[in-house]
Symmetry: C2
Subunit: 476 residues, 2 copies
């Protein structure tokens, strides 16, 4: 028997296809083993299936038996700002004012290597405690913060995407850098970190409003020189931003700026996309690029409501990740992101049912806006991996993939969850896929990071919650 | 020295006025003692002030010293459905479909007394665990459920408002009841429960769309017969509901139905009010009636976004409570309600800054939409008490009031909160009102029910969280 074989037995839930393809029968996109066995070798999945069947092939395997839990592929956060960890949830401003008042002053501290290291540690540990095993991250305009991010991620063996975050206007002088320096530093960092260990490098112009023509050209040059590098930026987040952007770059829409510099294609992600037009959705779909939906952030800054049902229109279905967008997103947990994503869909649907303006009625789009547990957890796992062009490596329990996963305790969270769930499943936990899906819905709507019991990276447990909670009521 | 004297020492934060009156200097509405002493006698506040000063008057007082916590008046939930406790967060429908698919079938179970008792217990214990000491509650159309609600609240010594919930149309036949029976049962229940112990009775027509002319007349008769009774109902929650309502009751706006039957006045609360016109706001203000803002619910059902800045317009400032609206609201914690309320304000402001349509620019309204920690926690305490006409009894630590309060641990909640708060205060906790307010903002945006450490009713501790949480990271 091979060395480093690790077995985990438990109830597994993952996805094999896109649930938006199966309207009315979303369960066809999913896979559930109430008693399953995952076998890994050196962190890579070697076998997976019903315990009874798989265990016969490994008679001497020692395995960890995880009971009364649901095991899912690790969550993927498509959009997080490492250096905003400490100023998460800052008061009172919309995007552009918030950047100036709260964000740039904090990010400035990341030119100091030890502060940058502490920030990366805090951020990554917050992610692991939330069940997030992969993120696509912004750092700052200081190379040390990018270095420390990759170093700390490597220390945790996390598969991450990140990059030096370029901005040469629309920020304090001490924060911005020149296009030339950005190109030089990015080239060096790509050579040092891209595909070293589990690191993936993204050429990262912060956003087009913060990028001069020269900085955009630098990005274009970099993508030409390093075609395997990812590209990560913001797009169409806030109305004021869009107005200023159009004026500054003399463009008709937000996407066209990135198109102009040949950045929109495979491995491109634009964060937010709240105000994308149908035409932009079509061009993104055609380019096989991705958008990250960040509902906590879009609510917190009041940016607006992403049109999920339009992004998933089969006529121009785009690649999608979901993201926290910490620090504008106020929760590190992707479970909380699902709560808010569900609400965005429901709010959009009050327009789409035609009750306010009959001209806006669009029932197929409204159907696609409904974030079922299948669509929701697909988006955090296989869908997120697909959005990031990492579905050959992570996102589900296919043999050959890297074994990052999360162990969910469906009964954790606010006190109300237990009695609610007693309606859904018996004392032995979910026996069918439908029961498991209903529990996943209660986790996303009633739960939060408390539902994450364990987080595993490459078949090794790197986070374990140890909580003993008793609630006492003196009068009963 | 009098008997039953209870002393509590700690950091106290409460309100003496409405922070919306003090634009730019909201701290004038609040009061903070970093080292305070609260002295109660038989549950009533007898003295309150700085420890050094007050303690001299009570040399032999034994007191509980609560360290590293913020003590606030107990939270007030202006709108909760007891019989929806178990179906909290049910999937996929907007208001009218959600009622039919999920809610009425569950509420039907409450005709059984023992189920009704279990539901009341679960609901009230969830509230206490969330720091909520007073609620205004719906029961069902079955008198037993109203009885069990008051019995269980009395057992916990909670000050509650509630009533038999009348509906004679727009629900399954087995659920509705006649106007005649509703009037008879309500009259009996008022005589039994109103002002018995800490109970307050509210004449409760569920909503005008579920009430025939006869049922509305029954409510009118009841209010005439029992002018001291409260009135509680829903108003203007969802566009489809409003369209159907106008047709059914042949009215120009939602409020006019309740006005027609003489219900709108002091002690009247309408839940939601998402689509209230300026004219309706004016009439509500003139009548000195109240609206409950339920942001979790309004997002969850996609109902829409309450215009907080308009409700607080000094030209027609209405009384306001905030509410969970469980089970359409998906969190029992008023802290989560504040998170969503903040987001509603911010989303509204993207319209009001004029960046989408310059005609909508309204900066004073936008300013009032910003839910600062002062406005937020005022709304859960003194503001909520004012909205419910209970500010003579609860809402702050004034001498003579009933001592319901909550003990907040600012460092609980998601892992990210600790490092964030290290920016705001030193290791000794908040020394100034501004520091305390900043901590309150991080609780409402980053926290949840975990921040509620203890809940006290009439100077007696009825809930205490006992959590020992260690997070372990195998790799560091």
């Amino acid at each position: 028997m091979a060395k480093n074989l690790v077995g985990v037995r438990g109830s597994f839930f993952d996805f094999v296809d896109d649930p938006w393809k199966f309207i009315g029968q979303e369960e066809k996109s999913a896979r559930f083993y109430s008693d399953g066995l995952l076998v890994t070798e050196n962190g890579i999945i070697r076998d997976f299936g019903p315990f009874e069947k798989v265990s016969q092939k490994y008679p001497n395997l020692h395995f960890t038996h995880i009971k009364n839990r649901l095991i899912l592929p690790g969550f993927i956060d498509g959009h997080v700002h490492v250096p905003q960890t400490r100023v998460i949830g800052s008061f009172g401003e919309q995007l552009l004012g918030w950047l100036q008042q709260w964000i740039f002053p904090e990010e400035m501290k990341y030119k100091d290597r030890s502060y940058a290291r502490e920030g990366a540690r805090q951020c990554l540990d917050n992610l692991l405690a939330a069940g997030t095993t992969t993120c696509q991250a912004y750092t700052t305009s200081f190379a040390v913060s990018t270095e420390e991010f990759f170093e700390e991620a490597s220390r945790r063996n996390m598969l991450v995407v990140g990059g030096l975050t370029g901005i040469d206007r629309f920020a304090p002088d001490e924060y911005i850098d020149t296009a030339q320096n950005f190109q030089r530093d990015t080239a060096r960092l790509i050579k040092t970190y891209h595909r070293t260990g589990r690191n993936i490098y993204a050429i990262t112009p912060r956003f087009a409003l913060g990028a001069s023509h020269d900085l955009m050209v630098a990005c274009q040059n970099l993508k030409r020189e390093f075609p395997d590098a990812w590209v990560h930026t913001h797009i169409s987040e806030n109305p004021s931003e869009i107005t200023q952007l159009k004026q500054f770059h003399q463009c008709n829409d937000y996407l066209s700026v990135y198109e102009k510099y040949d950045l929109v294609g495979k491995k491109f992600t634009g964060g937010h996309g709240v105000y994308l037009s149908d035409d932009e959705f079509r061009r993104i779909a055609k380019a096989d690029a991705a958008i990250t939906f960040c509902p906590c952030s879009n609510f917190f800054l009041g940016s607006g409501m992403f049109r999920l049902g339009r992004a998933t229109d089969p006529e121009h279905r785009i690649r999608l990740t979901f993201g926290t967008d910490v620090g504008a997103g106020n929760r590190f947990s992707m479970i909380n992101v699902l709560d808010e994503a569900y609400k965005v869909g429901m709010c959009n649907n009050t327009m789409l049912d035609g009750s306010i303006d009959p001209r806006n009625q669009n029932l197929p789009e409204a159907e696609r806006n409904k974030l079922s547990p299948y669509r929701a957890f697909y988006s955090l796992t296989l869908g997120g991996a697909h959005g990031l062009y990492l579905d050959d490596r992570i996102g589900n329990f296919e043999v050959g993939k890297e074994a990052d996963f999360v162990v969910l305790d469906w009964a954790a969270g606010q006190r109300a969850i237990a009695w609610h769930e007693s309606l859904l499943v018996g004392a032995n936990g979910p026996q069918t896929m439908d029961e498991a899906a209903q529990l996943l819905f209660s986790i996303m709507i009633l739960g939060d990071d408390r539902n994450v019991d364990e987080t595993w990276i490459m078949a090794e447990r790197v986070y374990q919650k140890t909580v003993s909670e008793q609630t006492a009521s003196a009068r009963k």
